[in-house]
Structures are given as structure tokens and as C-alpha cells.
């Protein structure tokens, strides 16, 4: 089991304005095939990635938000959202399109400390 590492993907940018959210998701999907211990963290504007009701027809861009719902099928089930980031944006868990674990800032810091590899985009 020594080959299993704890990977954390940290998402701090909103979707569509830049490609980071989409291409981060592509790495997450690939990582599932490697049987590592994968978690995703959403903080700052990254929490907007999980907002329900995205409709991208008007900007002629693909809506990739359904992919977050598909993560479970890849056994990527640990999604963490920082409480303070949600609150600052007037969002609650009900606004999010997937089930997440809400963490305080301090708990989020502890989660990061425990990882072997932290990838941010």
C-alpha cells in the first residue's frame, strides 16, 4: 500500500473566465485511474464551480458542471468546501450541485497539511 498517496486538488478560480476549472477536472478524472487517495478542495471563487443552474449557451461554451456530478462514478467522493468562502458569496450548500463536506478555514488548513501532493491550477 506504500504506493497510495494523498492527492488534493485545490480549486480557487471561478469557471468560464479561465480554463483552469475545466482542465483541473480533466486531471481529477485521470487521477481516478491511478487508485490514489483523491480529494478536492473548493475555496475562494472556486466554490462558484459547483453552483447549480449553469447555462452556457449564451457564451457558446460547453457547460462542464455536470461532470462534478459524475465524479462519484469514478470513486472521487471527497469534496470539501470552505465555509467562509461560501458565506462571503451568499451561497449555501443548497446552491451546490453535488454533496460536499463543509469545513471551517482551520479545518481546510489541516486538510492541506495532511496531503502528500497538492495540485493547484
Amino acid at each position: 500500500m506504500s504506493d497510495i498517496k494523498k492527492f488534493l486538488f485545490v480549486n480557487r478560480k471561478p469557471p468560464y473566465g479561465t480554463i483552469y476549472a475545466l482542465e483541473a477536472l480533466e486531471v481529477v478524472l485521470i487521477s481516478a485511474a491511478f487508485d490514489q487517495d483523491v480529494s478536492l478542495a473548493f475555496l475562494d471563487d472556486g466554490v462558484y464551480q459547483l453552483k447549480k443552474g449553469q447555462q452556457t449557451k449564451g457564451i457558446e461554451t460547453k457547460n462542464f458542471s455536470p461532470t462534478y456530478r459524475a465524479l462519484e462514478g469514478y470513486d472521487v467522493e471527497k469534496l470539501y468546501v470552505e465555509k467562509e468562502s461560501l458565506a462571503a458569496r451568499g451561497l449555501t450548500e443548497d446552491d451546490l450541485l453535488v454533496d460536499v463536506t463543509v469545513l471551517s478555514s482551520e479545518e481546510m488548513g489541516n486538510l492541506m497539511d495532511q496531503q502528500d501532493v497538492v495540485l493547484s491550477f
Binding site: Y16, T18, A88, R89
Partner: protein, 98 residues
């Protein structure tokens, strides 16, 4: 003049700076700046205050893309890309706060 903002006000200082400098005129929020037009976010008070002296618009396709069309603050008007063009044409000049 028309000030065009494209950054989230909770990630970047662009909109805050624009509000400091622009005493009048119009602002258009596009791309990731549309988050500034939503109810309940931490920048809301700054926007409300600015609405007294500036006209603020939001690009609806960008707001819809981000799933927030039902959260638009009162006092901010919605435009589509055609409305964006009209705003540029109607103002003597424009500036993108990149």
C-alpha cells in the same frame, strides 16, 4: 465613459479600483465580474453605494453561464452582447480594467 470589468471582486482589486476612480459614468460587468452583480456577496454594499452615482450593467449570458441569473441585485440592468455593443457606441470612450 464606459468602464468594463471582467474580474471577480472577491478575487481581484479591479472593480474596487474602478469604483475609487470613476465618479460618474457607466460600468459593465462581464466574464468573472458578473459575480459582483449578485445578491448576498461580500461586495454587495460597495455596489449599492456606487449605484447612487454610476449606472451599472451586467452581461446576462455571462451571468447565466455562472448559474446566477436569479440572484441579480436590484438596480443593475441586464444586457446581451448587442446591448454591450450599444453601450460602447453610446459612450464617448471605454476602458477595460484588466
Amino acid at each position: 465613459m464606459l468602464h468594463i470589468i471582467n474580474k471577480s471582486p472577491l478575487g481581484n482589486v479591479s472593480l474596487d479600483s474602478c469604483l475609487r476612480v470613476a465618479k460618474s459614468g457607466e460600468i459593465l460587468l462581464i466574464e468573472d465580474a458578473v459575480y459582483a452583480a449578485t445578491r448576498g456577496n461580500a461586495f454587495e454594499a460597495r455596489i449599492s453605494e456606487a449605484l447612487g452615482r454610476l449606472k451599472i450593467h451586467v452581461l446576462l449570458p455571462d451571468l447565466e453561464a455562472r448559474g446566477l441569473a436569479d440572484r441579480l441585485m436590484d438596480g443593475i440592468s441586464k444586457v446581451d452582447y448587442g446591448g454591450f455593443v450599444d453601450l460602447v457606441a453610446a459612450n464617448k470612450n471605454c476602458q477595460s480594467w484588466l
